[in-house]
Structures are given as C-alpha cells and as structure tokens.
C-alpha cells in the first residue's frame, strides 16, 4: 500500500532533480567502499575458520602423545603447526593492513585464539614451558600483511587462547593418569595450570572481550580443579596401584 506512491515519487524526483543524481553517484561510491570491506570480512571469516580447523587437528595430534612416541608426535605437530601458519594465518594477515586489523578483528579472532592454543600446547609438550606472546609473534615474523608489516597476535587473543589451553591440558592430564603414566606428568601439568590461573587472576578483564574472558577464566578454574582432583586421587590411592605404574 505504502510502496506504490513512494515509487512514483522516486521516478518523479529522478527526472526532475539534478541534485538527486549527484547524491546517487556519491552513494555509488559508498557502495563500493562498503562492498570492499564486506568482501574482505568474508575472506577473513573463511581464512579464520580454516585456521581453526587446522589448529584443532594439531591439537588432536598432540592428544595421541604417549611416553614412547613423544619425540615423533611433537615433531609432527610442529610441522603441522608451521603449515597452518604458512597456509592459513598468512591469508588472515594479508587482509588486515593498518586500521583494518581492529576494524575486522572480530572476523578473525576465533581462528587466532585456536592457533594460540595449538602453538602453546605444542610448546608445552616439547619444553614444559609457556610459549610467550613475544615468542609466538616472533615465530610469525615471516607472515606479512599487505604493506609488508609482520602480522601479530594481540594480547586479548593470546589470553583467550591460553585460557582454552587449560582445557586441553586437563585432557592431557586425565589421559596420562588413565594410561598409567604416573604422578609426575599430571603433577607437572597441575603446577603449570596453577601458575597460569594465578597469572590470569593478576589481570583484570574489563578490557575488550571482558565477558568472554570472565567466562573462560571460570572454565579454566573448573579444568584446574579437575586436574587437581586427578592428582589428588592418584596421590591418595597411589598405594593401591602396583608400584611399577605409580613410579613410571
């Protein structure tokens, strides 16, 4: 009902006013700009999803780890991780020059968080240490954006990735306890996640993504408690297991 007169008015306006044409051509310009940004955003979402999928695969590789195949698995995971970086993180990097990094950040954050998680889990299995943001970013120094500046992960994505790391470590701790690899492995993970949690409590999360962060830290605490309970029951009930399992 409302449409018909509107259309009629449009036609009349187009034929009579030249000012209209002027602002129509401006809008065509705006349309180009919006399209460019949207296409870029779409490409980023795709690239980010690929980073997520392939980073998850790296983490799966790590979960196949046991005492006998440690070196081989870690080596494999490292190789896969480098492949993710070169094939997919580089695609993200290409799209986010200058101001666009923050403008489009939400499109690629999930992928980067997963990548952080994979990279840190690999590092933990290799050295037992936390891969720092600085180390991570220097491993990314070969990945450039369109203007040749090195791509880097920002603090928020790093922290959110690390928060997820505790969940993976919980799985590692439980599975290593279940496979009878003894107290030591889970105790190491426990100490690590405890330190991580303490680190998180040092920071305040009223920054961007603050709500995400609060939720993740809660989950982190749950994981930590689970790890601690696992260690506890192994400790207390250790005498019930044959010494060969407990000590190994």
């Amino acid at each position: 009902m409302l449409r018909a007169p509107l259309f009629a008015a449009t036609k009349r306006a187009m034929s009579t006013s030249t000012a209209t044409n002027a602002f129509h051509s401006r809008f065509q310009q705006y349309a180009l700009q919006l399209d460019a940004t949207n296409e870029r955003r779409e490409r980023l979402v795709k690239a980010s999803r690929d980073v997520t999928i392939h980073s998850k695969k790296v983490i799966f590789v790590i979960h196949r780890l046991n005492d006998s195949n440690r070196d081989k698995i870690v080596e494999q995971a490292e190789k896969d991780l480098a492949a993710v970086r070169d094939a997919h993180v580089s695609r993200v990097a290409r799209e986010v020059e200058g101001v666009d990094y923050w403008k489009l950040k939400r499109a690629f954050s999930p992928g980067m968080q997963e990548f952080v998680e994979a990279a840190t889990v690999v590092e933990f299995c290799k050295t037992g240490k936390l891969l720092t943001l600085q180390q991570l970013n220097s491993s990314l120094c070969g990945v450039k954006d369109a203007s040749g500046v090195s791509f880097s992960v920002d603090i928020d994505d790093y922290l959110l990735g690390i928060a997820d790391l505790s969940g993976e470590l919980m799985r590692l701790a439980v599975s290593s306890a279940a496979s009878g690899q003894g107290l030591e492995a889970s105790a190491r993970i426990r100490g690590f996640v405890q330190a991580l949690y303490e680190g998180f409590c040092l920071l305040f999360y009223n920054v961007d993504g603050g709500r995400d962060m609060t939720k993740k830290v809660e989950v982190m605490l749950q994981s930590l408690v689970k790890i601690e309970t696992t260690c506890y029951s192994m400790h207390v009930r250790g005498s019930e297991y044959p010494a060969s399992i407990v000590d190994s």
Binding site: G98, I155, G199
Partner: protein
C-alpha cells in the same frame, strides 16, 4: 609469569587511554545534547534561530573531536579498537548536521562534507562510513515528525518536499549492498 606482569602494564596503559577517551567523549556527548536541544524548537517555531543556535555548538563539538584526534593520532592503527567510545555520539552528530543541512539547503550532507564540517583530518581521525550512514537513517526518522508539525503550522508544501527527499534517500540506500547488520536494520526502519 613475568609475562603476565608485562600484560598487566600494557592493559594499564590501554585503560589509561580509555580513561582519556571517556572524558573527551563526555564532552562530545554534552555538546551534542545541547545542539540537539537547540535544534528541537524547529518543530514549532521559525527555523532560522534554531539552526543558528544549534550551529553555535559546533565549535565545542569540533574541540571534542580534536581531543579524540589527539589521542588516536598517537596510535593510528587502533582507531577501531576504541571506536565504540565515540560511535553513538558520532551518529547523533551526523544526524543533527545532516538535518540542519537539509533544513538550510534541502540537500543531503555528503560524507566528505560532514567530515569537513567536523574539521576532521582524514589521515588522523576520519568519519567512519557506517556511522555516517546510520546518522542519515536517524535523520530520516526525524523528518516525519517535522512534516506533521510543519503542516500544523500551515506549510502545506512541506510533505511533498520531504517525501521527494526521503524517497531519493531511500533509493540511494538501495544502491548499497547492505550486510545483514545494524545498518540494514536501521535502514529497514526508515521505509
């Protein structure tokens, strides 16, 4: 663990930036509110005075943007990191400017002109295109009320003019391939 200490320092720094932005934006907010209030009598009294009065707040608004510019200029790549702070106010500012521009000239304020009116330097602190377009949508929702009041005041040609203008604007917006986001919702609201 030293890493977390350094994160803490960095977050403190970014919170300090936020603090600065908050105070600059509250000035902007203030000036915008005054400008809006000055423009409102347009609905019932002669237009000249209101527009003039509204425009008298422009220097204050410019000053607030200058402060924002100064803060962002130090970290040019982080414009969008803090964009949320001034987004709403900027949309209101655009709608006010566009409205008074239309009242004066019957024409649509362009993105570049809006930027110029606010004396923003493109390379330091630009006007986000989305903000500009949302501002226009806001303005167009103000117009019907204006029409009603103009008719009451006896200006019977006003509906025709506004209808022409709005349908132009409407058809212009249809040139944009809008993503299914806030802008689209606003635009759908103008139909």
């Amino acid at each position: 663990m030293e890493q977390f200490e350094s994160f803490r320092a960095e977050m403190d720094a970014s919170n300090a930036v936020r603090e600065q932005l908050r105070s600059a934006v509250s000035e902007l907010d203030n000036a915008t509110r005054l400008m809006n209030a000055a423009l409102l009598p347009i609905h019932h009294s002669s237009s000249g005075d209101s527009i003039k009065k509204a425009k008298s707040y422009l220097p204050e608004i410019r000053k607030a943007y200058m402060e924002l510019t100064a803060i962002i200029k130090a970290r040019p790549e982080e414009y969008y990191k803090y964009h949320d702070y001034w987004r709403n106010q900027t949309q209101v500012v655009v709608s006010l400017l566009a409205f008074s521009h239309w009242l004066e000239t019957g024409d649509l304020l362009s993105h570049a002109d809006a930027q110029e009116l606010l004396e923003l330097k493109k390379e330091d602190f630009f006007l986000d295109l989305d903000d500009y377009l949302v501002g226009l949508c806001n303005m167009s929702s103000e117009l019907p009320r204006y029409v009603v009041n103009q008719v009451v005041a006896g200006a019977y040609d006003c509906p025709e003019r506004v209808s022409l203008f709005l349908s132009d604007l409407y058809s212009a917006f249809r040139l944009l391939n809008l993503r299914n986001d806030h802008l689209r919702k606003r635009f759908d609201g103008t139909k």
